[in-house]
């Protein structure tokens, strides 16, 4: 009965964003500036690893954001949690002298607790996650400022400073910065979890139809809470990396990161309505944003044109994925089948 399924190809939702990345990648090559030796600057190994490093924080945050959004929520507090975690990292290493492991654990724990509060208040308080995480966005930053006494804290090595192992976050291996490995590993791990585990399945289910999920016996409130915990923890991880790369814990950092992360998720084909989306797509979305910034940056284009171009390219990239080139034959009718996609 299960004959080779004709629609299989088109069901690979992530193909479209990956396709989008390829297009942008090719465009980047075409429009790459050349250096004095005449090489394409864009294609230099160093530049490519730079891009990966530059997107690694956003990429890690976007992983958690993908879970939250697929489950039908949204998390605006990721940038503040990043700042909080970076601040705790700097203070833990420098002022409180907690050592590497305990500091990391503390930063992650606090971030996870912030995420847990997001989830718990959303679930049990029955308040839209937009509001809850907006409040957390404010409160977490306040807390970070409180810890830092409204200052930023630089991290240094040597006596009285941070343990030297902390330098790992600004070290490269085989020419690839360490944060890139974390980014890739995180994406792969949670990709597996999303695709292959019960939990992953439940995340889709509650985002697709919460009511049906309740009746099917899922513990919807808990599952939703876990997604926020994950988003919090990963923002915390990104915060540690942030501190490690900039050698500073700054409670004012991470402003606007939530928009970048949500943008990556949505460009990656995940619907803000919840219920569908992929981490492959998010990965592609993160890369699209990174490539775009890189090529515009390499050209040193003035801010005004850069912004206008960026706006146009984002829409064009999504349009090519979605409408222009129809890779997905089901698109047009799926509208008629109870799928009211959020516009």
């Amino acid at each position: 009965m299960d004959k080779t399924y004709r629609l299989k190809f088109s069901e690979r939702e992530w193909i479209k964003p990956v396709f989008g990345v390829l297009i942008i990648f090719v465009m980047c090559i075409v429009f790459s500036p050349t250096n004095t030796k005449g090489d394409l600057v864009f294609l230099k190994f160093e530049n490519l690893t730079n891009i990966l490093r530059q997107v690694s924080e956003n990429g890690i945050i976007a992983v958690g954001m993908t879970y939250v959004i697929i489950a039908g929520g949204i998390d605006l507090s990721v940038g503040s949690i990043l700042a909080l975690s970076a601040t705790i990292t700097a203070f833990g290493l420098m002022d409180w002298q907690l050592g590497f492991l305990i500091t990391m654990a503390l930063a992650l724990a606090v971030s996870s607790i912030a995420g847990f509060l997001n989830g718990a208040i959303t679930s049990w308080g029955k308040i839209q996650s937009f509001i809850v995480t907006l409040a957390m966005m404010t409160a977490a930053r306040g807390f970070a400022l409180f810890i830092a006494n409204n200052n930023s804290r630089d991290v240094g090595f040597g006596p009285g400073g941070a343990p030297s192992v902390f330098a790992v976050f600004s070290t490269s291996y085989w020419g690839i910065p360490f944060p890139v490995f974390i980014f890739i590993a995180t994406t792969l791990l949670f990709l597996l979890v999303l695709k292959k585990t019960k939990f992953g399945r439940y995340v889709y289910a509650i985002g697709s139809n919460e009511e049906a999920a309740v009746l099917a016996g899922l513990r919807v409130k808990w599952i939703r809470t876990y997604t926020f915990v994950l988003a919090g923890a990963l923002s915390g991880l990104a915060g540690i990396i942030h501190a490690g790369q900039l050698m500073q814990g700054n409670p004012n950092d991470g402003v606007g990161f939530e928009l970048d992360a949500i943008a990556a998720v949505v460009i990656g084909g995940t619907s803000l309505m919840g219920g569908k989306g992929t981490l492959e797509g998010t990965f592609a979305g993160v890369l699209i944003i990174g490539l775009l910034s890189n090529i515009l940056g390499l050209h040193g284009i003035q801010k005004d044109f850069q912004l206008m171009l960026k706006g146009a390219i984002i829409v064009a990239a999504v349009f090519v994925q979605e409408g222009g080139i129809k890779l997905h034959p089901l698109r047009s009718m799926s509208r008629n089948k109870g799928e009211t996609s959020r516009r």
Partner: protein
């Protein structure tokens, strides 16, 4: 932290800061707060406009309604704040304007340094380091903001006489270390030879240094910043650590502002304009300066 002294404060001072998210401004806040804490007769209210003119207008309005005895303001932009500062002044509240002037003389005292002059000093210093020839990367503060424009203009003025000095790349780093870093990464890819990086503030210059260090090119170029804040994360320490080749102290004027405020409240006469002078900090004198500060 706020400590409430037993003696009830006699005066309320409202301080409207335009943005506390920059280290330089935070340093100003700290100076003002610690100076104010020495004087139990004043109660200090601080507001942060988070880089928004509109919010700062509201903040000042709130202070007026609250009935502060003196207003200190570091305006986000001149024109938008002029009206409300005039309103306070007309209501009989003495006003100390810090760092950036308003477009009116309805204020009691202005305290500030000159961005353009500092930019010029930085430009001249760069010319000296480069012996009149070289390729420069400039990392801007927020495009369109007055200090960014003034520091840029000053810098250009400083290198005006050296046609061999070329700005090969400039981008908006919005005063952020993080942006300074990624802008520099792109610049490093793009150009094999960069001789000097001018960051319009220290955090961006340090960010650029970190980027160059990661690819082993930090030794090939000079890094210049502005602000010269004291403390472990500040520009002076960065000069001592060899991250920056020079920085230029852009004084916050916080301490003087509080002292001036007290004079005004006590009815003493104060000068209408107090211009703070800048000091250039290079590796030779940084250590002395830092210990002298303490």
């Amino acid at each position: 932290g706020k400590k409430n002294n037993a003696a009830a404060p006699k005066y309320i001072i409202g301080f409207s800061q335009c943005n506390s998210a920059e280290p330089w401004r935070e340093a100003m806040n700290k100076q003002i707060e610690s100076e104010a804490a020495k004087h139990p007769e004043i109660k200090l209210l601080v507001s942060d406009a988070q880089q928004s003119n509109a919010r700062q207008v509201s903040d000042v309005e709130n202070f007026i309604v609250r009935g502060v005895n003196l207003l200190m303001i570091s305006p986000n932009e001149a024109k938008p704040l002029t009206g409300v500062v005039e309103k306070a002044y007309d209501a009989g509240i003495p006003v100390i304007v810090i760092d950036r002037k308003i477009l009116s003389d309805k204020y009691t005292c202005f305290i500030g340094a000159n961005n353009e002059l500092i930019g010029k000093e930085a430009g001249e210093y760069a010319a000296k380091l480069l012996h009149g020839k070289g390729r420069v990367v400039e990392i801007w503060g927020l495009k369109g903001s007055t200090p960014a424009i003034e520091r840029h203009d000053g810098f250009m003025e400083g290198i005006k006489n050296y046609p061999g000095i070329k700005i090969i790349y400039s981008q908006d780093g919005a005063w952020l270390r993080e942006k300074g870093r990624s802008i520099m990464e792109n610049a490093l890819q793009r150009f094999d030879k960069i001789d000097l990086v001018f960051g319009q503030n220290d955090p961006m210059a340090i960010g650029a240094y970190l980027a160059a260090k990661d690819v082993g090119r930090a030794k090939d170029m000079y890094f210049i910043g502005i602000d010269g804040l004291p403390g472990p994360g500040g520009g002076i320490q960065a000069v001592i650590d060899g991250k920056l080749n020079a920085t230029f102290i852009y004084p916050t004027g916080g301490k003087i502002a509080v002292q001036t405020a007290l004079k005004i409240l006590k009815g003493e006469k104060v000068p209408k304009d107090i211009t703070l002078s800048s000091v250039s900090i290079n590796p030779q004198d940084a250590k002395e300066y830092l210990s002298g500060e303490k």
